[in-house]
Symmetry: C2
Subunit: 498 residues, 2 copies
């Protein structure tokens, strides 16, 4: 069979896999947003079964042989070769795992996430602990079936961010520790920014209207995207033509939902701006976590927390909350959006202390996988590290180890990409500044110009290139975390007059 005939066969098989992914993705979104919990057990069983069917398709020997055969063909286009390269890499994650273990893991992940949710509501880690320990055990067991050149936690780090290892993350976080920990300590000693207005009463109904304004401002295409409400904001993309972002409204916090929605829209924009000719290929799913996070952080922090972003929106905010913002002007609003103080909840953390929240999780994960920690005591270790790096200690499990969903679903190795993404974003912004002035664009109400730059230099490729390649293509040099550290130092030295 000639290569293009083989390719057509490959595409047919991928279409089938994409059908399963679409309905399972939709069912998962439904479960996260609205499905009633009494249906959990019934749904879990059936979703686990179909995850198993998808797994069978992905590990079908005929399919594996087809991909391997294609990987040996020289007469494919560059694009086709790349797609096959990623597919082959990704297949290693599944192909040696027995199906029953995979299905057991899929079921455990669902049950564990659902239990985590209840445990968090009850602020009771003991409810969740057996699931967490089992999830850790299963995650370690899955590693035994990997045929990677890497070992242990390195495998997981590479899964979420190709090319990243403990060694490289250690270097990255050492720099954070060296430069940012003292910066946070210096800021703590300075006079606090007055952000008391942030914590007045902001009715959810009005916040919903603000969300619409922000989405309009960011030109989020409502004919190709959805916004919903969940306990934890997240984003998902069922296809290039179907983005999903969620947020959560706290009535005693104006900023929380604002920056959630800007963040998640950053993710959604990435998926929506992929090039048409690769939108229905493996490149759509192959975007690394760090790259994805760079685009959400870029929108949330590097754009969303600037004065420029709010020049054309602040009147709307005041109109929605006239009493609460009676004595607040644009400058005061933006200052409050950038106030830094040590806190307990990662998702609510400011831009400066944020990487320390990630540092804590990275150190714990590393220790879980090298066995240097007693997993029975993870909640205590969590609290200890918060005290060490941020000087605060959780008063209960909900603001401690129970705050994040990730571990319940077995996502170990994911957290570090959050800090890395912020690092990537700093370098992207530096490169963008050579072509346009983003604050000026926003002042001129030309947000699409910024989206165009991101599409041209980053988004259009989806996961066609590796993170390292995109970085060089978009910025002219390999990733250099000093852009990030310098950005934080400059910004916060000015803001707090250090």
């Amino acid at each position: 069979m000639n290569s293009q005939e083989l390719w057509k066969k490959y595409e047919e098989k991928m279409f089938i896999q994409s059908a399963y992914r679409l309905v399972l993705g939709t069912t998962s979104f439904d479960a996260e947003t609205i499905a009633p919990h009494k249906g959990d057990a019934y749904r879990n069983e059936r979703v686990a079964y179909l995850e198993g069917e998808l797994f069978s398709l992905q590990t079908d020997p005929e399919f594996l042989a087809l991909v391997e055969e294609l990987s040996r063909r020289d007469d494919l286009s560059f694009q086709q070769k790349r797609i096959i390269k990623w597919q082959l890499t990704d297949m290693e994650r599944f192909r040696y795992v027995p199906k029953d273990i995979f299905v057991e893991y899929a079921r455990l992940s669902m049950e564990s996430s659902q239990t985590w949710k209840k445990a968090k509501e009850a602020k009771d880690y003991s409810m969740f602990k057996p699931y967490l320990l089992k999830t850790i055990e299963m995650s370690k067991k899955l590693l035994e079936y990997r045929h990677s050149d890497l070992k242990g936690y390195d495998i997981l780090l590479d899964d979420f961010e190709p090319g990243m290892t403990i060694e490289k993350y250690d270097a990255f976080f050492d720099l954070i520790k060296k430069e940012i920990v003292p910066l946070v300590a210096a800021v703590v000693k300075k006079e606090k920014i007055d952000d008391r207005f942030v914590y007045l009463n902001y009715p959810a109904e009005q916040q919903r209207k603000l969300t619409e304004k922000i989405l309009d401002y960011m030109h989020y295409d409502r004919d190709a995207g959805v916004v919903a409400e969940t306990e934890h904001p997240f984003s998902d993309a069922l296809s290039k033509y179907d983005s999903r972002v969620t947020t959560h409204y706290y009535e005693n916090n104006l900023m929380s939902s604002i920056f959630s929605i800007i963040h998640e829209t950053g993710h959604a924009t990435y998926n929506a701006q992929i090039r048409d000719d690769i939108a229905e290929t493996y490149c759509f799913d192959n975007i690394s976590s760090g790259m994805h996070e760079s685009q959400s952080r870029l929108m949330e922090n590097y754009l969303g927390r600037t004065r420029g972003f709010w020049v054309n929106l602040f009147d709307d905010v005041k109109e929605l909350f006239p009493k609460q913002l009676e004595n607040v002007d644009l400058e005061g609003f933006v200052r409050a959006a950038n106030a830094s103080f040590p806190s307990l909840i990662r998702t609510e953390a400011d831009e400066l202390t944020y990487p320390l929240h990630i540092l804590i999780r990275y150190e714990l994960e590393k220790a879980i996988f090298d066995g240097s920690v007693d997993v029975e005591k993870l909640d205590q270790l969590w609290a200890d590290k918060y005290e060490e790096y941020l000087g605060v200690r959780p008063a209960n499990d909900a603001e401690g180890i129970l705050q994040d969903v990730h571990w319940s679903g077995g996502s170990f190795g994911y957290f570090p990409t959050y800090a890395l993404g912020s690092g990537y974003a700093a370098q992207f912004m530096h490169a963008m500044a050579e072509d346009l002035d983003p604050e000026k664009c926003m002042e001129d109400n030309e947000f699409p110009k910024i989206k165009d730059w991101l599409r041209e230099h980053i988004h259009q490729y989806g996961g066609l290139y590796s993170p390292a390649e995109i970085m060089v293509m978009a910025t002219g040099e390999p990733f250099d975390p000093h852009y990030y550290v310098e950005y934080l130092k400059n910004k916060y030295s000015k803001l707090y007059e250090l």
Copy 2:
């Protein structure tokens, strides 16, 4: 293999089919409620593929042989025998249809429904017409693959309501024509009930709160059910533990959403009250349309439009709309909820004129399938019949032939069950009255007592028994439409002092 071993095999296969149904059902609900329309084409292709997979499972020769073998076994329990009986009947609908034709039909249905939606918005039948004609053609084509003892439209009628035929529906609708058409004409001549307050401004936000009150009042279990908003209200049940009801808020109509939500909750309650031991069997899906509709109509009309229903709710309604209802008391509210007048939109029609809306659709469907009508002119025929039976003529397609979704999805034979269900409900209410006084129950705030009666006599069985059997079991006699006609005559003679 002994019968119980065979049965276990059958259950395993049914579990797999239920997994596909669950994710396809969830994806369909998502598409109806929130999915962005730019994702339609991508989703349609994939859903059609998986519908085909489910079709393959349902028509797998091994599965067919298994069911046939089970149907020959004498040592199954009564329940098992019944389940197999229904399964076998249902299989005839699919087993002789070529898969490619089935998939083509599934894809056409989705495209046709999506086009219908746009055409209705644009009030432009010409957009939808080619899809409707194609859907009619395909529906007729599918009939060629049926091996039923029945012919043509009778097959479709029997699909939706086992045992019903043109002959039986003709008799039913002849009675409606004889008794209800003159009653409607008599009511038109009387002084109108003052219901002007119904059409004041009722903000959707407040109506949403009223929906919550109504659901609480009806003891709708929010841990096993969802409420959402759609252009057309509907209900769905993904499992006994996961009901879905939707409604639509018109800000210039207080009653529309109220009776939609009561109606759909009637459907949801049926599915939620099925007996545990048959909740995950074929009996869950096997409830006939007429039986289902009897339970929604029972809640909407026979309970929801009585004074008793509102005794404990009316204060809440007034609190939500103090200005709009300033001069309305409980009696005036209930009278307005029962006002009858000829109108154009079926879903908004009052209880008395409602069966005439169905009569019109029944006559058109019958004519479509016996070929006595020029389908090119369906929109005109629709308008003519409205003029004939109700004395009103649609001013545009949206309030004429485009008003209902059913035909776009190929649901021919469904409409008549709506009137039949109202008929069933009258007889059920007559039987219920021998055991309890529903209005008194509601006045005493004991709605669950009514739900208990319905569970005991109807809901618990799901589709274990045929509609005719349930009717005899619950009421002691076969279906008799005179209960319905007498109910309408009594009620409206009193209300309008005829």
